[in-house]
C-alpha cells in the first residue's frame, strides 16, 4: 500500500512515518502543499493523510485541488482544530475521513483500513466470523466458544463483533465508543472498561485461553494467535 503523508510538523511526520512503515505502508512524506501536489500526481498512491494546517495553503484547498487533478485515493484528514469545519464535513460525506489531534496510533491505523476497505470493490460479506475457537454467526446473532453458546446481550454481541473484525489489532476506547455506540465522546470514567470486563467474563471462561487482552494506555486487542 502506497501512502502519501502531508504533514508539516517534523516531529509528527517522523513518528507517523515510522509507525506507518511498521504497519506495512510504503510512506512518502511532504511538508507543504506544493510538494504534496507534485508527489500525488507522479506517484500512484492508495491513500493520503493530509494535515489541515499546512504552511503554504489550507489542507482542504489542497484536497479539492488534488481531486480536480484526478487523484481518486481516499484521504484521512488530520485536524488540530477542535470543532469540525463544515467543509471537512462535506469531504467526510464524499468518502474521506477525519481525525482530530492528538490521536491514538491504533485509531489512525483503523481509520486508514476502513478507508481502504470502503474504496475496494465489495466482496461477499461473510455471515460468520471466526477467531481461533471463537465463532460468531452474524445472521442468528449468536456467538460460540469451543462449541459452547455464549449468553450475550445484543450490545455485547455488537462489541464482540467489532473486536472480532479487528482481531489481532488494537482498538482504543474512543474507537469502541464511536463504532459500537456511535458517539465521539471522551468519558473520564471507566464505562468502556466495564463493558469489556463483562464481555471477557462471558468469553474467557475458566480454563480457557484468555482472548480479550487489555493493553494499558492503548486499548484492547482480541488475540488471533
Amino acid at each position: 500500500m502506497r501512502l502519501l503523508l502531508v504533514e508539516d510538523e517534523i516531529e509528527i511526520q517522523s513518528f507517523l512515518r515510522s509507525s506507518l512503515a511498521e504497519a506495512g505502508y510504503q510512506v512518502e512524506a511532504a511538508g507543504d502543499g506544493k510538494t504534496a501536489e507534485r508527489l500525488a500526481i507522479d506517484g500512484q498512491f492508495d491513500i493520503l493523510i493530509v494535515d489541515l494546517g499546512l504552511p503554504d495553503q489550507d489542507g482542504i484547498t489542497l484536497i479539492l485541488r488534488l481531486r480536480q487533478l484526478g487523484v481518486r485515493a481516499p484521504v484521512l484528514i488530520l485536524s488540530a482544530r477542535r470543532s469540525v469545519d463544515d467543509r471537512v464535513r462535506g469531504l467526510e460525506q464524499g468518502g474521506d475521513d477525519y481525525l482530530t489531534k492528538p490521536f491514538a496510533l491504533a485509531e489512525l491505523l483503523a481509520r486508514l483500513r476502513n478507508l481502504l476497505k470502503r474504496n475496494s470493490p465489495p466482496g461477499n460479506e461473510a455471515t460468520r466470523l471466526r477467531v481461533l475457537d471463537l465463532e460468531l454467526d452474524l445472521l442468528r446473532r449468536e456467538a460460540t466458544r469451543s462449541g459452547q453458546v455464549l449468553q450475550l446481550t445484543p450490545q455485547e454481541f455488537v462489541l464482540l463483533e467489532y473486536l472480532c473484525r479487528n482481531a489481532g489489532r488494537v482498538v482504543t476506547r474512543s474507537m469502541i465508543l464511536d463504532q459500537v455506540w456511535g458517539m465521539r465522546i471522551q468519558p473520564d470514567t471507566n464505562v468502556v472498561d466495564v463493558h469489556i470486563y463483562r464481555l471477557r467474563g462471558k468469553v474467557d471462561g475458566k480454563g480457557q485461553q484468555p482472548l480479550i487482552r487489555t493493553l494499558r494506555g492503548v486499548g484492547y486487542v482480541l488475540k488471533d494467535r
Binding site: T100, P102, A104, L105, W181, M183, I185, G217
Partner: protein
C-alpha cells in the same frame, strides 16, 4: 402585525406616554381656565357693581329731588324702570315682566314704601331685613322664590328712608356658564387631538425601537453577521440603531479574535501533544517488561486527560463568550438517552447505582450532536463519580413550553452548600472530587450555546437535581420575531 399589536396596545409604552402627557396637558389647561374664569367672573361683577352703585346714586338723587306728593311713587318708579332696561349683560327675555332688576324703597321704620319689579317685593324685603346690608357696598342677596341671587346696592336718604337697587346675577351666571361650556368642548377636542397626536408619534417612534429590538433578538449566539435596521433620519432612534450596529461590529470582531486565539492555541498545543503521544506509543510497543511500560502508560493517560481538559476549557471559554460554533442536525434525545444508559448502566450497577428513564417517547431537537453527546456524557460521568452506592438516578425527559426538559435527579447526598452557589463556574468542584471542575461549566456552556439553560440544586428529598432545557427548534429559524415581522410586511 395587527394581530400582534392589537391586544397589548394598552400595555405599550406609547399608550402610557400619551396617557401621561395628555393628563398633564389637560390638568395644565384646566388650571389656566380656572384662573381665566375667575378673572372674567370678577370683572363682570366689578362692572355690574359699578353700574349698581351709579344707578342707586342717581335714583337716590331723583328720589331726593322729587317732591313727596302723589306723583312721587310714579316718577321714581318710572326712573327705576328705565334704569332696569339698561342692565349690563342682559339677555333678550321673552317675559314682558322685568325680573332681573328690582327697586325697593323703605321708610324710616323699615316698611315697604315703593316697589318696582316682579312680584310684590315682600320676599325681597324679608331677605334684605334678614341680611345686614352695608351702605355703599353691593352684596349678594338670596331671595326666596328666585333661583339666582341678586346683587344689591343701597343708599340711605337724608329723611332716613333707604333705597335698594337689586340686579339678578342670572345673566352674569349665564355668560359664565356659556363660557364654561364652550371652553369644555374646546378643551375636550384639544385633549383628544393631543392624545391622538402624541400616541401616534410615540408609537411610530417606538415601532422603530421595537423593530430594532426584534432584529437584535434575532441575532443569536451563532449568527453575528446580521445587523439591526437603520433609518435615513437623524434622530435618537437612528443613533440607537447605528450604535447597536457598531457594538455588533465590535462583538463580531472580538468573537472572531477569540476564535483565532483559541484555534491557534489549540493548534499550538495539539501538535506537540500529538508528537509526544506518538512517541510514547512507539516506546510502549518497544517496551517488553511491565515495569518499563508502566510509566509510559500513565504518561499516555495523563496526556489524554490533558487533551480532554484542553478541549473542555476552550469550549467553556468560547461558550462563555457566546462564541461556540455549532453545526446543527436533528438529535433524538430519547434515543440518545437510551444509548447513553446502555453505555453507562454496567458501570453504574458495578458501583451499586440504579438508573431509570422516564420519557414520553421520541423527542427531536435541532442541536450540535457531538456537543449534546458530550454534555450528556458529562452529566452521567458526574453521577457516576460522585454518588455513593445504593443510590438511584432518575432521568425525566419531556417537552415543556416548546423546549425539551431533561431532569437528572438522584437520592444521594446532594451538592455541598458551599459548592452549590458556584456550580457553573470553572474550577469549582467538591472536596473529594478528582475531576478538573469543568463538568457542569461545560454542561452550562453547551446548553447556553443552544439557547437553553441549566439549573442545578438539591431537591427536597436531599438529592442533587440538574435540569437542562434545550429549545426544540433553534433560534434564528421558524418562529423568531424577525421572521414573523418580515412575513407581515
Amino acid at each position: 402585525m395587527s394581530s400582534k399589536t392589537a391586544k397589548p396596545v394598552m400595555h405599550s409604552a406609547a399608550w402610557r406616554i400619551s396617557l401621561w402627557a395628555t393628563l398633564a396637558f389637560a390638568c395644565g389647561t384646566m388650571l389656566v381656565f380656572v384662573f381665566l374664569h375667575r378673572f372674567v367672573a370678577d370683572d363682570i361683577q366689578r362692572r355690574s357693581d359699578a353700574w349698581l352703585s351709579g344707578e342707586v346714586e342717581v335714583l337716590g338723587d331723583v328720589a331726593e329731588r322729587t317732591p313727596k306728593d302723589a306723583l312721587y311713587g310714579r316718577v321714581v318708579g318710572e326712573v327705576a324702570e328705565l334704569a332696569g332696561k339698561e342692565v349690563p349683560n342682559k339677555a333678550l327675555s321673552d317675559s314682558s315682566e322685568n325680573d332681573s332688576v328690582f327697586f325697593l324703597q323703605t321708610g324710616k321704620d323699615g316698611s315697604l314704601q315703593l316697589w318696582v319689579g316682579a312680584g310684590n317685593g315682600e320676599a325681597n324685603l324679608t331677605a334684605i331685613q334678614a341680611s345686614r346690608m352695608l351702605p355703599d357696598q353691593p352684596m349678594d342677596l338670596h331671595v326666596s322664590g328666585f333661583p339666582t341671587p341678586f346683587r344689591v346696592a343701597s343708599i340711605r336718604m337724608d329723611d332716613g328712608s333707604r333705597i335698594y337697587l337689586g340686579l339678578s346675577e342670572r345673566d352674569e351666571l349665564r355668560v359664565l356658564r356659556s363660557l364654561r361650556l364652550r371652553f369644555f368642548l374646546l378643551w375636550l377636542l384639544i385633549v383628544l387631538l393631543g392624545f391622538g397626536i402624541v400616541f401616534f408619534t410615540t408609537r411610530r417612534m417606538l415601532s422603530h425601537v421595537r423593530r430594532i429590538t426584534e432584529a437584535a433578538a434575532g441575532i443569536g449566539h451563532s449568527d453575528l453577521n446580521s445587523r439591526v435596521p437603520t433609518t435615513q433620519r437623524n434622530d435618537e432612534v437612528a443613533h440607537l440603531a447605528l450604535t447597536l450596529n457598531r457594538m455588533l461590529d465590535r462583538i463580531e470582531s472580538s468573537v472572531h479574535q477569540l476564535h483565532t486565539i483559541t484555534d491557534s492555541l489549540a493548534h499550538d498545543l495539539r501538535s506537540p501533544l500529538t508528537a509526544i503521544r506518538g512517541k510514547l506509543e512507539m516506546s510502549l510497543s518497544a517496551a517488553t517488561h511491565g515495569e518499563q511500560a508502566e510509566p509510559i502508560v500513565s504518561a499516555i493517560e495523563e496526556l489524554d486527560r490533558l487533551t480532554d481538559f484542553l478541549n473542555k476549557s476552550l469550549d467553556v471559554a468560547e461558550a462563555k463568550a457566546d462564541a461556540l460554533r455549532l453545526s446543527r442536525s436533528e438529535v433524538d434525545l430519547d434515543e440518545l438517552l437510551r444509548i447513553m444508559i446502555d453505555l453507562y448502566e454496567p458501570s453504574m450497577s458495578e458501583k451499586g447505582l440504579q438508573i431509570r428513564l422516564q420519557s414520553g417517547g421520541p423527542l427531536r431537537i435541532e442541536a450540535d450532536a457531538a456537543l449534546i453527546h458530550r454534555m450528556i456524557a458529562n452529566l452521567f460521568d458526574n453521577e457516576l463519580k460522585h454518588l455513593p452506592s445504593a443510590c438511584t438516578v432518575t432521568i425525566r425527559l419531556r417537552v415543556e413550553d416548546g423546549a425539551a426538559s431533561l431532569i437528572l435527579e438522584d437520592d444521594g447526598p446532594g451538592f455541598d452548600a458551599e459548592v452549590c452557589l458556584h456550580l457553573f463556574e470553572r474550577r469549582v468542584k467538591g472536596k473529594e472530587s478528582n475531576g478538573h471542575g469543568l463538568g457542569l461549566a461545560f454542561v452550562d456552556a453547551v446548553a447556553r450555546a443552544h439557547g437553553g439553560a441549566v439549573r442545578a440544586g438539591n431537591c427536597e428529598s436531599g438529592g442533587a437535581q440538574i435540569a437542562v432545557t434545550l429549545p426544540v427548534v433553534s433560534q434564528g429559524h421558524a418562529g423568531s420575531p424577525a421572521a414573523v415581522m418580515h412575513g407581515a410586511h
